[in-house]
């Protein structure tokens, strides 16, 4: 098993070197006891790009021990916020330097268009790291007045400790940044398990972690199968916190394992079935564009994908026409092709799953007004599909505001929601009534690094981004310092 492979980027006449080992203590190493490999696949060609080491549960133990040691010696309370800020900023600079190459690797393994990977995914990731670098030297507790003659009471916001972070395949680099940045900023150490579908960019980023100068063990990268590495981390007695983004089913398992092991802290970003409400006063052309973005972006592989659109009946026909036009306008193709606005779905498994939904929708009598027909040839392509009252994007109708809100909230999920209206009071009422962690008004899917993101109901626990993410990685210690009270004993 070579320690670095040279990957050829088709059409660009270049190669990228990717390390294939597990990144532990700033070194790429083989598994301690396993010869299992993960095969990274190019979803546009269905071919194997390369293979990397799959971590076993023994490897997870090694990684956790490395993270624990770093937390006790070179990180955690042993490093100043100023130094953490400097290192995270350095990492951001290095990612910026290598953005083109990272984008090529991301497009190759995930399928998304290269320019979108570079300008959006990686651009936002760099900004996310810089945002949290800015917080690192601003971790502030409170001093609290109790009794000025006797006690000084204050809180310290301490790093939680060793954090396991399990990320999905839809935005490999961006999800990596969202997780790593706040954790490092407050002084936690990290065991990062990228998705077994898209491990390559996490490994490449590990090289930059080392180059930036982070002490060994601060970030460890362990590609691994979910039921192996993910399960081991969630149940590990020496992991203080697990942060997971992925499916609700897996989220439950993680929380259960956490509860059964050491009651580690858990934050979850799970699925969604996010609704779009289009009211009659909306700018229809804009609303149709945002709705198209909501379902087409990233080939629909987005936790906040606006997969249900409800349109007020007075504007239903007009809106539907606009939506179909917008959706059909997108060019879906190979991510390395400049013309592509969207790529294939990430894997065979996802391809079969989505087509399964489409087929079952047709069988139940739903009418596909866009898409619904498989391509011939190579590549896991699912062209945008709009059903009337079906899966994938379903478009429904409502009469009144109350009805729209009821339809929107009728789900166990609560991740995102969008509403389009030019009636300001309606915007306020509806955004207040929608049961979602993020509500977009006259917009969809646009996030900002300094605004929190997370789910209500079964879409998750905790918040990422913004100052709120800092709370996910700190734990509050209250200190009561007596300097004036003498205890009478016995009472």
């Amino acid at each position: 098993m070579p320690s670095t492979v040279s990957i050829n980027i088709p059409g660009l006449n270049k190669t990228i070197n990717v390390p294939t080992g597990l990144f532990i203590n700033n070194e790429f190493v083989a598994s301690v006891d396993s010869t299992e490999l993960i095969h990274a696949i190019n979803p546009a060609t269905e071919e194997v790009i390369c293979s990397v080491v799959a971590a076993s549960s023994q490897d997870i133990d090694v990684a956790v021990a490395a993270a624990r040691h770093a937390f006790k010696t070179s990180w955690g309370k042993n490093v100043t916020g100023f130094e953490r800020s400097r290192l995270i900023n350095k990492l951001a600079d290095l990612i910026e330097r290598d953005a083109q190459e990272l984008a090529e690797l991301e497009a190759l393994n995930n399928g998304k268009p290269l320019r979108i990977a570079r300008d959006f995914d990686i651009g936002d990731s760099i900004q996310c790291l810089r945002y949290y670098a800015g917080w690192a030297d601003k971790i502030i507790g409170q001093t609290i007045e109790v009794d000025n003659k006797a006690k000084l009471a204050f809180t310290r916001h301490e790093p939680i400790g060793v954090c396991a972070q399990i990320i999905p395949w839809n935005y490999p680099i961006n999800m990596w940044a969202w997780k790593v940045a706040p954790a490092l900023a407050v002084g936690c150490t990290v065991i990062m398990k990228p998705s077994e579908l898209t491990p390559l960019t996490a490994l490449k980023l590990s090289e930059l972690v080392r180059e930036a100068g982070f002490p060994p063990g601060v970030i460890n990268t362990v590609p691994s199968l979910g039921p192996v590495g993910g399960a081991a981390l969630a149940a590990h007695p020496d992991v203080d916190k697990v942060a997971f983004t992925g499916s609700t089913i897996t989220g439950r398992k993680i929380m259960e394992a956490a509860a059964k092991s050491n009651l580690k802290k858990v934050s979850l970003e799970l699925g969604g079935k996010s609704p779009h409400l289009v009211f009659e006063s909306a700018d229809l052309e804009q609303a149709a564009s945002w709705a198209a973005l909501g379902i087409c972006y990233n080939s629909g592989q987005d936790c906040t994908a606006g997969s249900r659109v409800y349109v007020q009946e007075t504007i239903y026909d007009k809106f539907l026409d606009l939506l179909v036009t917008k959706v059909n306008a997108q060019v879906v193709g190979d991510g390395l092709d400049d013309k592509s606005g969207g790529g294939p779905v990430v894997s065979k498994g996802q391809y079969e799953r989505v087509w399964g939904y489409i087929e079952s929708g047709k069988q139940e009598g739903a009418q596909a007004i866009v898409g619904g027909v498989k391509r011939t040839g190579k590549g896991f392509y699912v062209d945008p599909t709009i059903f009337i009252f079906g899966p994938v994007l379903s478009v429904g109708i409502f009469k009144t505001e109350e009805e729209a809100i009821t339809l929107a909230n009728d789900t166990n999920y609560g991740l995102g929601a969008g509403l389009h209206s030019n009636d300001a009071s309606q915007c306020m009422r509806v955004s207040s009534a929608l049961e979602a962690g993020t509500v977009w008004v006259n917009q969809y899917n646009i996030l900002n690094n300094n605004v929190p993101f997370g789910g209500k109901k079964q879409s998750g626990i905790g918040r990422e981004l913004g100052s709120y993410a800092l709370e996910e990685y700190t734990s509050v210690k209250a200190i009561h310092w007596n300097f004036g009270e003498k205890l009478e004993w016995p009472l």
Partner: protein, 502 residues
């Protein structure tokens, strides 16, 4: 188009060249003063003129304010996202860092600071201050506040607009950073007046402001005298906010002019007569070192200098012996700021020299015992030897007024309550230093002292993340830390009715 001055450094510890523009920096351009002439820049180690720079006047301030106002309304303020403001501040910090040695040399030349100290204290803290505020720029939060479901109620923390900033000569570059860091991070534009005694690093940083990419008019730098430029800034009807660091006397004028003009919001960082208190259970060896640092650092030219040193009678003799030894050592290492091994430099100017020597005379005449120093060092430049007075009483001038020189007034005490009262017996309230190994006493005394900054078992150890400011006549408002964001923003409360009908 204004001129430039190139200084060739050929010293034991630094060789190189530095070129500064000598004009006024307004709207991203270098211009001469409209009608005010020039000011000489003097090297305080030699007393000789180095160069001269343009002196601005009220007409130049008008032009600068117009440029700052235009930038605020178009390319800066809330038209420029916090992320971008932060990026530019980081860029500026990087540029200073890339030219660190040059900045340190300019500062040592202009102020008389020991070169190594300029590098690792002054320039380094300016860089980290700008980086700290770069990090705040996209984190200026208001609040959403629950009232009723019929209303969306929230606050915005908005920049003032054009801020006037007037800084002193004791930490020129550091003071530029402390002022422009939070002001720019929150979206204000700035008209800044450096001290006419020490303009060089402010002039040098102006070129980097252009290079970093700040839009023209965001930062304007106008040298000049107090009675011209400072007065014009404090009276200007279009300046919404003024921040001043300097003497209490001038601070009063600024506050008065602000009240009489447009009620501009005022932040003042003024003088101090800060107490250093050493209890009998202190780690004496450490306490002596900190106390010396506390009064002799920067030749006593620090607003937080611990200039009244209260020592418990049980350790008084031992303290004095060790304190004197350190002061003597500094005296032996007095000289050229650029010579390796120098630990004590000149006072910044002839005027300051005369002022400090005047207080030393007062000390002698007032009945205190001159224990060490009390005289000029050498034949040229503005050097004063580290000076110690003992047997001081609270009604002496050297115990009441801020000397701003390397002059310590030492007093003996017996009881904790007694020393707290003596320490608080001053119109000032900037800093206090408490030395004891008894943690309960440390907290009690630190809390009892009327000062904006309390240092326990240390002195002069500022942090960018901690707020800084004075009680009583040492000032109003806070700089540094998160608190500075409040200093440079005003709160707008927005009430949006969504359901109440009349």
């Amino acid at each position: 188009m204004s001129g430039t001055y190139t200084h060739k450094f050929d010293t034991a510890s630094y060789k190189g060249e530095s070129t500064v523009h000598t004009g006024l920096f307004i709207g991203g351009q270098w211009v001469d003063s409209i009608d005010q002439g020039y000011i000489d820049v003097v090297n305080p180690a030699t007393g000789k003129v180095v160069t001269r720079i343009s002196a601005g006047g009220s007409k130049d301030v008008d032009v600068a304010v117009a440029a700052a106002k235009k930038a605020f309304r178009t390319s800066w303020g809330l038209h420029c996202p916090g992320v971008v403001r932060g990026k530019l501040l980081n860029k500026l910090a990087n540029l200073i860092e890339a030219n660190l040695d040059e900045f340190a040399a300019l500062e040592a030349l202009d102020v008389g600071k020991v070169l190594e100290k300029a590098k690792y204290a002054d320039i380094a803290s300016a860089i980290s201050c700008l980086r700290y505020y770069a990090g705040w720029a996209d984190k200026v939060h208001g609040k959403t506040i629950e009232t009723t479901e019929n209303k969306l109620a929230y606050t915005r923390h908005e920049p003032y607009g054009v801020c006037g900033q007037i800084i002193p000569w004791n930490f020129p570059l550091g003071m530029v950073a402390f002022k422009i860091g939070p002001a720019l991070a929150t979206g204000n534009t700035v008209v800044l007046k450096p001290s006419e005694i020490t303009p060089l690093t402010a002039l040098r940083i102006a070129d980097l402001i252009n290079e970093a990419g700040f839009p023209p008019g965001v930062v304007n730098i106008i040298n000049g005298y107090g009675h011209t430029v400072e007065q014009a800034i404090s009276e200007h009807p279009e300046i919404a906010k003024i921040a001043f660091t300097g003497s209490t006397v001038t601070g009063r004028k600024i506050l008065k002019a602000s009240a009489e003009s447009n009620l501009k919001v005022v932040t003042l960082e003024l003088g101090g007569k800060s107490p250093t208190i050493i209890f009998d259970d202190a780690d004496l060896e450490q306490a002596v070192k900190w106390a010396s640092f506390g009064i002799f650092f920067n030749m006593g030219q620090v607003c937080t200098s611990g200039s009244r040193i209260f020592v418990h009678e049980a350790i008084y003799d031992k303290f004095l012996e060790q304190f004197t030894a350190i002061a003597r050592d500094l005296t032996n290492k007095t000289g050229d700021p650029f010579r390796p091994g120098t630990e004590h430099g000149p006072q910044v100017s002839q005027i300051q020299f005369d002022r400090v020597m005047g207080y030393i005379e007062d000390g002698k005449l007032g009945g205190a015992t001159l224990h060490l120093g009390g005289e000029r060092h050498g034949e040229e430049g503005f050097f004063i030897k580290p000076t110690i007075f003992t047997d001081c009483h609270p009604d002496m001038k050297i115990m009441k007024e801020e000397i701003f020189g390397p002059v310590a007034a030492v007093v003996k005490f017996k009881e904790e309550a007694e020393v707290i009262e003596m320490a608080n017996n001053t119109v000032y309230g900037l800093a206090c230093h408490v030395f004891t190994q008894n943690v309960s006493r440390a907290i009690r005394v630190a809390h009892a002292l009327e000062a904006g900054n309390a240092w326990v078992n240390c002195a002069q150890m500022g942090e960018t993340a901690m707020p800084f400011g004075g009680y009583k006549q040492s000032g109003m408002g806070r700089e540094l830390g998160e608190y500075a964001l409040d200093t440079y923003t005003q709160v707008k409360a927005v009430h949006i009715n969504i359901g109440t009908r009349l």
